[in-house]
């Protein structure tokens, strides 16, 4: 027995008491010992309609954790995942977040898919002084309304995800005059329309909005909406819907020949392509909440992308969709942050030291090199393309792809998205990169 390695009873009591009573600031800054395992709490949808994203996210997390552990872990420490279902609601999620941090003693939290979940978890992360990576949620409000020391987003947010398809539309179909929107009636559906309309009003003033349709969240039938759109014949139909609702809308629109009358802009449809198959005709605009695409024309590391895609397919029998890529980005950022914090043989980082490592951090996604800005927001490119049918796949692929650099479409640090969008001018179109044809 050595005195140095075995803490005395008094030290043990003090440590236990301190962990309960000491303010988070002190415990977060206290030097940390190298743990036997790195515990990561992951909040995601495991049930309900959004599990179409949450479950692929979990599958990707499990696959990546196994890979990392096979390679010796992060900083030599194996990782262990703790999953929490977001579906029961915010109160449940907040309780589970607190439980994971305080009872399970997780080292890092990955939160969440729902914007509402992120808006609730981020202040809690700050209160608990626990590094939290916002791995998938889209709300742009988080880092625009407050500064956080412990929260970081490892992907883009709603503003670039909506502005990029608008710019793509203006570049490829500049003569549209009328538009209709059909979005789900909840925060994402309403917020994404506000972003689109704000930008459209300054970049293409005079465009007439002929219908604003917000069917209830979870709707299973869009027949009446399709009828309305058939009768109105807008030049463009925008829908930021996702999951089963987007699939149903695409099917019903196709069965009733709505695609022949209007150009569709579907910023989240990458996640539906494999399911809807050829029901989605060629010639419509699709986005992927980032530059995620298994047939990415210019990935930063083609071998890494192929390894990720094939590994995911072997595991799930499906191509990865954007939450799987977003999960990969969160793991990549975490590894890069630990590598940075441990640089030069430094001791295992405290929560505060780990958080400091995320500022300005650069890391690789399966398709690009990414960076986390000083406000905690990740800079992620946006890939938008037009659907095309080929013999290689039984579902539409993307052609005429434009990869938008994040600096072009992301709100600058310290600015509010809606206010920034109002300052845009049509000159921004000149800076849109050229389209890339599918290989």
């Amino acid at each position: 027995m050595t005195h140095a390695l075995s803490p005395s009873r008094r030290q043990m009591l003090a440590a236990g008491f301190g962990s309960v009573v000491l303010p988070g600031t002190l415990s977060a800054q206290a030097p940390a010992q190298r743990p036997t395992e790195l515990r990561i709490g992951v909040t995601t949808f495991l049930s309900g309609p959004a599990s179409v994203f949450g479950v692929p996210g979990r599958q990707a997390a499990e696959m990546l954790a196994e890979e990392i552990n096979r390679e010796g872990g992060i900083g030599g420490v194996p990782i262990r995942l703790f999953f929490v279902d977001e579906a029961p609601g915010i109160d449940h999620l907040v309780g589970e977040f607190r439980r994971l941090v305080q009872n399970e003693r997780v080292d890092v939290m990955f939160a969440s898919i729902s914007s509402g979940s992120c808006l609730a978890c981020t202040p809690l992360a700050e209160e608990l002084r626990k590094v939290t990576l916002l791995w998938d949620c889209g709300t742009q409000r988080i880092f625009e309304e407050r500064r956080y020391q412990y929260a970081f987003r490892t992907q883009a947010n709603a503003t670039p995800e909506i502005l990029a398809p608008l710019l793509y539309l203006m570049k490829t179909r500049p003569d549209f005059r009328t538009i209709a929107v059909l979005n789900q009636d909840y925060a994402w559906g309403r917020d994404s329309w506000e972003i689109w309309k704000t930008a459209m009003d300054v970049l293409k003033p005079g465009t007439r909005v002929v219908a604003e349709l917000f069917p209830r969240f979870g709707a299973t039938d869009f027949s009446a909406e399709v009828t309305r759109l058939l009768a109105l014949r807008p030049d463009v139909i925008l829908s930021t819907s996702w999951g089963g609702e987007l699939d149903t809308f695409i099917r019903q629109a196709n069965e009733r020949r709505l695609f022949e009358r209007s150009t569709f802009v579907l910023p989240l449809a990458e996640s539906s392509l494999e399911r809807v198959g050829r029901t989605l005709p060629a010639g419509h605009i699709v986005g992927s909440r980032g530059d995620h695409w298994h047939q990415h024309p210019r990935p930063a590391n083609p071998q890494a992308l192929q390894r990720f895609v094939e590994g995911f397919r072997r595991r799930t029998n499906a191509y990865p969709i954007y939450p799987a890529y977003h999960m990969a980005q969160a793991f990549s950022a975490l590894r890069a942050a630990y590598a940075r914090a441990l640089q030069g043989g430094a001791a295992w980082p405290s929560d505060a030291q780990l958080a400091a490592a995320f500022n300005g951090l650069e890391f690789d996604s399966p398709t690009a090199r990414m960076r986390i800005r000083e406000d905690g927001q990740g800079l992620e490119p946006q890939l938008i393309g037009t659907t095309a049918h080929t013999d290689r796949f039984p579902f539409p692929v993307l052609d005429n792809m434009v990869i938008f650099p994040p600096e072009l479409v992301t709100t600058p640090v310290g600015q509010n998205s809606v206010a920034w969008l109002r300052t845009l001018t049509p000159e921004i179109l000149a800076r849109v990169p050229d389209a890339i044809r599918a290989g």
Partner: protein
């Protein structure tokens, strides 16, 4: 007013078509719930799960039929077959193992038990069919579209939705009415619905009636799901959204009222499609506005009868 109709008449006509198609599906689900509540006096929250399982089962049977090389028209009887299978398997199982034990319990307990069953069946769906959307649109593609004139334009409608579904709903309504009023078994069910104690005193085996009615109700829920499967993508949670609307129909119609369920489904279906056409922001609240308005005027529902409370 006349000018408004002149301007918007064609649009209103389209909305009516959509409303009728939507009402057909709403009726198919709500009528089973209404029947079960009328006879068993148990508000079955798990009715939504039976709807969802019927839908998933129809998709599975349909996909199996296609992979077995059966012709496309076989997808239509496949829907019916799936509904019958689900009703015959789950109906007796749930009634015998669960409901039979709580008939004399407080309504709150009955609600909690069926809610628990709903949660269990939701998880069972995820275990069997996963969480990714499932679709089976062969019957819709098979029947094609019918073009409805709209001024100088035409609006294509799915034949499946605007013709087949309303026909099935009308056939179900007529069949149920005939069954309940013209057959011995139907009359026995009506007798138990009207006065369980008196019917039992007359020698009717109420337990058998309960089993029969619940199985039939489960079959109707599954048929509603099976018929909706070709029109939508099946995802976790479809049962929950269905049951909420069905409750609104049952409350508005009056408990145990078959014709009331049909009329209410029609009001709600048309109300929603008219809202989508002329005031989209009201679409979500229309079913509940109709329910509140009806219950304010007739608290017992459109076709309900005021019951004497026995002490």
């Amino acid at each position: 007013m006349g000018g408004w109709f002149q301007d918007n008449g064609p649009l209103l006509g389209l909305a009516l078509l959509d409303g009728i198609a939507s009402a057909a599906l709403i009726f198919m689900v709500a009528v089973g719930l209404n029947l079960v509540f009328g006879v068993l006096r148990v508000l079955n929250v798990a009715h939504g799960s039976l709807f969802a399982i019927g839908a998933y089962a129809a998709a599975s049977v349909g996909v199996f039929a296609a992979s077995a090389g059966l012709p496309a028209w076989a997808s239509l009887p496949a829907l019916l077959l799936a509904a019958i299978l689900v009703g015959l398997v789950l109906g007796p199982l749930v009634e015998r193992l669960l409901l039979r034990r709580i008939y004399d319990e407080e309504p709150v307990l009955q609600l909690l038990v069926t809610f628990a069953l709903f949660m269990i069946l939701e998880d069972a769906q995820k275990l069997i069919w996963g969480v990714q959307p499932v679709s089976f649109s062969t019957p819709v593609s098979l029947l094609g579209t019918v073009d409805v004139p709209f001024g100088a334009d035409v609006i294509p409608y799915n034949t499946y939705q605007v013709i087949l579904l309303p026909l099935v709903a009308v056939a179900t309504l007529a069949g149920l009415a005939l069954f309940l009023r013209r057959t011995l078994t139907g009359r026995v069910i009506v007798a138990v619905t009207t006065d369980r104690e008196a019917a039992t005193a007359m020698g009717i085996d109420a337990r058998r009636v309960f089993l029969l009615t619940f199985t039939f109700g489960a079959m109707l829920a599954a048929l509603g799901g099976a018929l909706s499967a070709p029109t939508t993508s099946l995802v976790p949670g479809i049962g929950a959204s269905t049951i909420v609307l069905s409750f609104a129909v049952v409350a508005t119609a009056g408990l145990g009222q078959i014709e009331g369920a049909a009329l209410t489904a029609l009001m709600i279906g048309i109300g929603r499609s008219v809202a989508v056409t002329f005031a989209p922001e009201l679409e979500v609240v229309v079913p509940y506005m109709i329910m509140v308005l009806v219950l304010l005027v007739r608290p017992q529902g459109l076709f309900g009868v005021v019951e004497t409370r026995r002490i």
